[in-house]
Each structure stands twice: as structure tokens, then as C-alpha cells.
């Protein structure tokens, strides 16, 4: 078990290494293939009026003249042992994990990410509670009343939920519940308050994003749960549970749902890991300053340290979520052996 976890963690580090190399390579090699020079790339970060001389200095300072391998090595070294950063008017020490300084704002990236993470985490956690509760609940009821009006309605809505893109449902939701009509009760975009400042305001601001995000996910979970329940409720062990004299509710929850849980946990781990790396569309639609919006900004600014930071963090979440899912397998299904 311990060796299994250690092996998986080493695998995770290798994975992150590959992700970072690929991101790095795309950032530098693709412009160079199109004929960009180090000065040309650096000139983006020194302002429009800068002369060629200043661009050259900037390229030198950012290390663009070094071979790519050296640049990459410097970046990795920063993550492991920290780095000294020369921002022109002095030298600053950036403690590990140093993800570099923004080319544009000159601010270190790591604290930025840590500031943004709680927003995305708040969004993902609240939505996850909603979508798992709703999705699994509706899925179970649908399976038990297969073919009923409830089942059909739920599955049509679920199909809509899976199909409709979030930038569409988010705008509709904002229009109906946030902006100027009698039903408007939800907070408007951009009113996010941290949970430390005010729990009610935090929840109020996130209510609509939660519901919108959960709608999309709940749909998939309802379908998944329904399919799983239809299968397990036909198992022999369900008949055994009934033969013992168990109440039907207990048969369904303790025996049926328990048997159908494995795929739901898998998908949930992956979905959640992906989501806390940045819910790009939802954050943009509701003006939430989370990791997703940060990533978008980083990409439009061509700000490599930010892009690298947000990519690595997202990749880390996915890798860790995968590991947790695999470990959970062994907890959920005693027949699974980790090796």
C-alpha cells in the first residue's frame, strides 16, 4: 500500500515534469518557428514605446538569450530551491516553490495562485455538493421508477443539462435571476466576498454559479447513477437483502446504491480535480476571480510564468485526484488490490 502510493507519487512528479516541458516548449518554440527573435518576444513586456535597446536589455534580464534547456532548468530550480529575481531596482529572493514572476506585473506568481485558489475552490465545492446530491438522488429515483413520468422528465432535463454549454445556461440564469425583473433574487456578477469576511454574502454571491455549474454536472451524474442502479437492483444480493426482511429504503440505499457507487466516485474525482484547476467558463460568466479567469488573462497576455503556474497547478490537481480515486477504489470495493 505504502509502496504503491510512493510509486504513484513518483509517477505524478514525472507527469508534472512532462506537462511543464510541453508548456514551456509550446511557449518558446512555436513563436521561434514563426521567426520571432528573443528581442521581439521580450519587447511585448516593456511597453509600446520602448526602443530596441530596452527590448534587448529586457531579453537579457528575462534570460531569453539562453538556450531553452538552460531556461527550463532555471525554472525547475526555482520551484525546488527558490530563486533570486532581479527586477531592475534590486534583487529579491523568491522562496520555493518559486513559479517565477509575471513578465507584466513583476509580481511573483505563486502568491497570486494562492489568492485565486479559494475562489475556485469555493465555487467547485459548493457546486459539487449540489450536483452529487441532486444527481445521485434523481438518478436513484429515476431507476426505481423506470419509465415513469418522473423518470422521463428527469432524463430529458438531464440530456439538456449535459448538452447545453455553461456560457449559455449561465447567461440565461443571470438574465432571469440577477438582472432587473421580479424574480431577481440572486447576486449580480463580481460581488464575490470571501468566506472569512461573511459566510452569508459568500454563499449568496456563489449561489447562482453553484446552481449553474451543478446543473451541467448533475445531469451526467443522474444518468450515471440511474444506469448503475438499474444494474445493481437486479443483482442477486438485492434479492438476498429483501429476503432478510430489510425495509425497501435500506435495500436501495445500503445495498443498491452502495453497489453502484464505484463509477460515480471515479467520475467525481476526475471532474472535481479538473474543476479546481479552474472553472474557466463559469468564472468568466460570473466574473469570479478564480484560477480559470487567471488562466485566461495569462494566455491573452502571453505571460509565461502565469501560464506555467496555472497549468502546473491544474495538472497537479488532476494527478492527485487520480491517485485519490485509485486509493478510494480499494476502500469502496474490498476486492480491489492495489499493486
Amino acid at each position: 500500500m505504502v509502496t504503491y502510493i510512493i510509486r504513484r507519487l513518483i509517477g505524478a512528479v514525472v507527469m508534472l515534469g512532462i506537462v511543464s516541458m510541453v508548456t514551456f516548449a509550446i511557449f518558446f518554440l512555436v513563436p521561434q518557428l514563426a521567426g520571432a527573435t528573443p528581442e521581439g518576444m521580450a519587447s511585448r513586456y516593456v511597453g509600446r514605446t520602448a526602443t530596441g535597446e530596452i527590448a534587448k536589455l529586457a531579453a537579457e534580464r528575462l534570460g531569453f538569450n539562453d538556450p531553452l534547456v538552460v531556461q527550463y532548468g532555471r525554472y525547475v530550480k526555482g520551484i525546488v530551491v527558490g530563486a533570486e529575481y532581479d527586477y531592475g531596482a534590486g534583487v529579491e529572493y523568491c522562496p520555493p516553490p518559486c513559479l517565477g514572476y509575471s513578465f507584466i506585473t513583476q509580481q511573483p506568481v505563486f502568491p497570486d495562485l494562492m489568492n485565486r485558489l479559494p475562489v475556485t475552490l469555493s465555487l467547485a465545492l459548493g457546486a459539487a455538493v449540489l450536483w452529487v446530491g441532486l444527481g445521485v438522488g434523481i438518478g436513484v429515483l429515476s431507476a426505481l421508477r423506470r419509465g415513469s413520468v418522473f423518470d422521463r422528465t428527469a432524463m430529458i432535463i438531464a440530456l439538456a443539462g449535459v448538452s447545453l454549454p455553461i456560457f449559455f445556461t449561465a447567461l440565461i440564469a443571470l438574465q432571469i435571476f440577477s438582472y432587473g425583473n421580479p424574480f431577481s433574487f440572486a447576486a449580480q456578477g463580481g460581488t464575490y466576498t470571501t468566506i472569512q469576511d461573511s459566510l452569508p454574502l459568500w454563499a449568496y454571491a456563489l449561489l447562482l454559479p453553484w446552481v449553474t455549474l451543478a446543473f451541467q454536472f448533475a445531469a451526467g451524474y443522474a444518468r450515471l447513477t440511474r444506469a448503475g442502479m438499474l444494474e445493481t437492483m437486479n443483482e442477486d444480493y438485492i434479492r438476498t437483502a429483501r429476503a432478510k426482511g430489510l425495509k425497501e429504503r435500506r435495500v436501495v440505499v445500503k445495498h443498491g446504491l452502495r453497489g453502484a457507487l464505484t463509477p460515480i466516485i471515479t467520475i467525481f474525482g476526475l471532474d472535481f480535480g479538473l474543476l479546481i484547476g479552474g472553472a474557466v467558463l463559469t468564472e468568466s460568466a460570473f466574473s469570479l476571480n478564480g484560477l480559470g479567469k487567471y488562466a485566461i488573462q495569462a494566455i491573452t497576455d502571453q505571460d509565461l510564468p502565469k501560464v506555467m503556474g496555472v497549468t502546473l497547478l491544474a495538472a497537479l490537481f488532476v494527478v492527485v485526484a487520480n491517485l485519490i480515486v485509485d486509493l478510494l477504489y480499494a476502500v469502496v470495493d474490498p476486492r480491489v488490490r492495489l499493486s
Binding site: Y237, A241, R242, L246, G259, V332
Partner: protein
């Protein structure tokens, strides 16, 4: 008063293709401490009968009529909640394949404890002690350790023992075993049958054994009921069925029973054809398309459903042939062939 009595039990399933008459007018009775073997091919209605007694048919799908009297209570008309309270406590069931019949995600001990705690308001530790005790009684070595194992860590025979422990955990007065040994090795089969016989004597419960294996019922049964196409076609004491069978189908079953004392080169005598579809049950006697003697009844077998009539001392047969003719056939043609085989 009889302990268990079925009167004209019918379990029908309406389907898109027509009405499936899985059990069509079944009656029998059983006393405490006695064993009834129900024998028949797949699809003859054996398992549907047992699930019907336990009230395990989903209310919406199956149409159940007739009467099931258990210890003075009628179960067909009782509320599902009332029958649920009897399930597991007053009547319990042992299923065919213990690997799929036990939940793979819970320990054997948990599953036995659950069965016990539904009907007894006791703490977990008391229930656990009871579970260990039950596992010991069904012959599982070191039950204190095995109680925390998952079903997949048990061997097939051990699993069936655990299943029996689960079924017996509330001292049921009626125990139904549906093909209890089919999924097991032959050597283990004998052990399980011995165990069931011992436990039945100990608990003095009424036992119904459902099987297609005449060897199993020969081991255990006081009475035997032979089912075909959802109906009882022969019923009697075990000696009647084995030594004086009168229905051609029972003869066929006896002829297709492998025996160790026979030469290996000799062939079994299988029954020709296959069991009838329960939607389009043949007119007349359901067995007539496969019956070698159907031509001896002046066509009655093809048109008229024969009645279940008593021939002698509680021995009932559903056949159009005259009693004397059946007995002559058995004595002169069937028995000598079965014996020389």
C-alpha cells in the same frame, strides 16, 4: 393446523408477448420438522413458487392469486409490510449461488449481523457474537477471524455455509433452499446437505428444497413434488416417487439421473425435447409433446388438462393414463430398464 399450506397458488406475469403462467394452481402442505423437495427442469416454476411464498415478487409485475397459509396467517392478502416482518425471521431462504447472493462490499459478519439486527433490537457487539456463533455452528473454522472477511475470500463451500448461517440467524421456522448445492463441488455438496439435515433437526424447521437434482432430494426429503410447466404433476412421499413413480415425466427424470453404481459406458436416458414455453403452454397435458405414451389416452392428452388425482395414500398424479396402465408400464417396461442400466 398445518404449518405451511398453499392453496391453488398462481403467479402470473403479464408481458408484451402474453401472460406467463409461471406457477399455475399449486397446492401442497408441509409440517414443522418435515422436508419437501420440489423438483423440475429450469422454468418449471420452482423458484417462482419459493419467491412467491416469501413475497419477493415485485408488486406491480406479478399477478399472484390463491392462498399461502403460514402458521395460521394468510400471506397473499397480507400487507407487504407484514410479510416483510416475517421475512428473515419466520421464513428464510438460502440462495443458489452464494457468491452473487452475498453483497461483495460487506463482510460476511456484517451481512449476518444485519439479518439478525433487523428482527432483534440488540447492540452491534451482541449481534457480532451471534454472527460468530452462527458461523461456528455451520462449521466454519476460526469463526472469530472469518467473521471479518469479505465473501470473495471464502471458498464456495464456506460461502454457502455462511449463507446458511445468515438464513438461520433468526431461527426461521420455514427454510427454503433454492438449489443450495448447484454451484458447489460434489464433495462439498454432500457436506452442505449433511449440514442442512443436522440444522433442520436442531431447529425443527420446515424445509423446502428446490432443485433439479433428484440425488439431492433423495438425501433429504420426506415428500417430493414434481413440477412441470408451472403445475404439480406428481406429488407423494419420497418412497412413492422413487420406487412407485407413475408419471412419465418422473420416469424421465429418474432415467436422466447419473448414478455412480452404473457402468460408465451406459448412456443416460434423457427426456426428449425441451421444457414448454410458459406463454404458449401446449393444450391438454403440458407434457404431451414430449411424452412417449401420449398416444395411449385416445387423444385426451392433446386436448384436456389432466387433473391431479390421488392414486393411493397421498400419492397424487396428473396423468390421463389409467392407474393400472401406468403401474403396468412402470413395473414391466420402465423399472427393469432403469435397474439394468
Amino acid at each position: 393446523m398445518t404449518f405451511l399450506e398453499l392453496k391453488d397458488l398462481k403467479v402470473h406475469f403479464p408481458t408484451d408477448d402474453g401472460l406467463v403462467k409461471s406457477v399455475d394452481g399449486l397446492s401442497f402442505s408441509l409440517e414443522r420438522g418435515k422436508t419437501l423437495g420440489i423438483v423440475g427442469e429450469s422454468g418449471s416454476g420452482k423458484s417462482v413458487t419459493s419467491l412467491g411464498i416469501l413475497g419477493l415478487h415485485k408488486g406491480g409485475r406479478a399477478k399472484i392469486s390463491g392462498e399461502i397459509w403460514l402458521d395460521g396467517e394468510e400471506l397473499v392478502s397480507a400487507t407487504p409490510e407484514h410479510v416483510r416482518r416475517l421475512r428473515g425471521k419466520k421464513m428464510a431462504m438460502i440462495f443458489q449461488d452464494p457468491l452473487s447472493a452475498m453483497h461483495p462490499y460487506y463482510t460476511v459478519g456484517d451481512q449476518i449481523m444485519e439479518a439478525y439486527r433487523i428482527h432483534h433490537n440488540v447492540s452491534k457487539s451482541v449481534a457480532r457474537k451471534h454472527a460468530i456463533d452462527m458461523l461456528g455452528r455451520v462449521g466454519i473454522p476460526t469463526p472469530g477471524k472469518r467473521v471479518d472477511d469479505y465473501p470473495h475470500l471464502f471458498s464456495g463451500g464456506m460461502r454457502q455455509r455462511a449463507m446458511i448461517a445468515m438464513a438461520l440467524s433468526c431461527d426461521p421456522e420455514l427454510l427454503i433452499a433454492d438449489e443450495p448445492t448447484t454451484a458447489l463441488d460434489v464433495t462439498v455438496q454432500a457436506q452442505i446437505l449433511d449440514l442442512m439435515r443436522e440444522l433442520q433437526a436442531e431447529f425443527n424447521s420446515a424445509l423446502i428444497i428446490i432443485t433439479h437434482d433428484l440425488g439431492v432430494v433423495a438425501e433429504l426429503s420426506d415428500d417430493i413434488l414434481v413440477m412441470y410447466g408451472g403445475k404439480c404433476i406428481e406429488y407423494g412421499a419420497a418412497e412413492d416417487i422413487f420406487y412407485r413413480p407413475e408419471h412419465p415425466y418422473t420416469w424421465g427424470l429418474l432415467g436422466s439421473m447419473p448414478r455412480l453404481d452404473r457402468e460408465r459406458t451406459e448412456r443416460l436416458l434423457p427426456i426428449k425435447g425441451s421444457p414448454p414455453s410458459l406463454i404458449n403452454v401446449p393444450d391438454g397435458c403440458a407434457f404431451h409433446p414430449r411424452c412417449p405414451y401420449a398416444d395411449r389416452t385416445e387423444g385426451k392428452s392433446n386436448t384436456e388438462v389432466p387433473a391431479l388425482l390421488e392414486t393411493e395414500g397421498g400419492h397424487m398424479v396428473r396423468c390421463h393414463m389409467a392407474k393400472t396402465e401406468r403401474r403396468t408400464l412402470w413395473e414391466n417396461e420402465i423399472k427393469p430398464v432403469l435397474e439394468t442400466q
